[in-house]
Amino acid sequence: MLQVSEVDVSYGHFQVLSGVSLQVRDKELVTVIGSNGAGKTTLLSTIAGLLPPKRGEIRFMGKRIDGIPPYKVVEEGLVLVPEGRGNFSRLTVLENLELSAYTRRAKERKDETIEEVFNLFPILRERMHQKAGTLSGGEQQMLAIGRGLMARPKLLMLDEPSLGLAPKIVLQIFSILRRLKEEGITILLIEQNAHRALELADRAYLLETGRVAMQGRGEELLQDPRLRKLYLGI
């Protein structure tokens, strides 16, 4: 479904990603783990069209998408819930959700999707007329995921959805991710919470200083001694 091949990305002279290849198949949950500064967010930003790759190519559903602007990538059905959540704080919860069904494909099923999102996150229904900026951290993250779903993604990319949340909320977010996966939504997840991400993932990639250092099935990586020591602290 998504095929990233030999991608290089740099900020000025500073190379952030070198020869990164990765793929996500239909209905898979793939996670990319790695420490801060390994290039995880850069990777997702590049796939979403926010950054141009210097080399390599990105294909989605067989179509080349590197070099096309982010709003066109969204139309293809590839949706990013970015770092920092990307909600519009001056819009209400409902306005955020309605806005996020922006493409024609998503617009056709807007009412139905809003209902699904409210069932997934009942708290958003209670808060629907509140400005997004007044939500708590956990609610903001739920709104961000809800916005992602509003776009009717074929592939949903999530950038550290558990960042900065209380442990209880983190559990809740992961159970939602599990549910989305069971519903057959294809997900590319970036996480610093490596343990939970690996448990959930079908397959995983470890990113170290801009290179893929390891890849395999989630439970394989969980068993790897070096990874356990460096990233899981076991």
Binding site: A48, G49, L50, P69, P70, Y71, V74, E75, V79, L80, P82, G86, N87, F88, S89, R90, L91, E95, E98, L99, S100, Y102, T103, A106, R147, A151
Partner: protein, 290 residues
Amino acid sequence: MIPSADTILQLIVQALLLGSIYVLMAVGLNVIYGVVKAINWAHGAFVMLGAYAAYWLYELYGISPYASAVFSAIALAAIGAFTHELLMKPFFGMRYFRAITLVVTYGLAILLINITRYMWTDVLRGVNLGVPPATIGAISISRPFLYGGLVAIALSILFYLMLKRTQIGRAARAVSESRKHAMLVGINPNVMSRFMVISGAAMAGVTGSLISTIFAVTPEMGSVLGIKAITIVILGGLGSYAGALIGGLMIGFAEASGTYFLGARYQPLLYFLTLLIVLSIKPTGIAGEE
């Protein structure tokens, strides 16, 4: 001399109506700033062009300024599109975007004002509708103020509802908050900013039509109104709809009462004084966040 209650009431209504026209002008400037983050210094010059369009169409063909406002809107929309493509878009993403666009649109203002001066000289012109004032109860209101104010109020409300209730309005507000996050929703921010600059310029055109029946139409009004529009949005808060409303009405009041009590000469003094006092208390403007 202490004015009578009726005189004061009449003054207030007149000030509200004039203020409403200023609100429309400021809303036009603010919708551009809100999405593009550029202060359009040429906004007053746009209003002036709208006023000249109204004047000539009235003078040559006898078309009422309220009808030709549609033409002013379309003409200025075209100039707005040109301004967006050539004077704003090339600088998107640059570090000193706000400063660059301020200077560039200032240049555009000078250009437009001087072309107008070259073509039509500094002669004071104006649309004299020759209609008697409307009498409502004990007060009488000049009709240009009455009609102009009502049209301005209607358009301001209409545009406000568009921003609040429609998907395109939500998209504009989203781009205003973050171009990056708006793109991730599927919004093309360039399309939105073009749309808003065109809308803002069209509003300036309509403002010009309305004002042509109230003030003298001269090339110089372009710079006077430009400064007035910028004063209003800074007073109210840049990019804020409520700010344009409050600022526009305040300046309307300052002018109307200043003219009555002190004489027209002291008008600028009065509203710069208002600006000074407000900004020293709240530097971001009355309703401003930035």
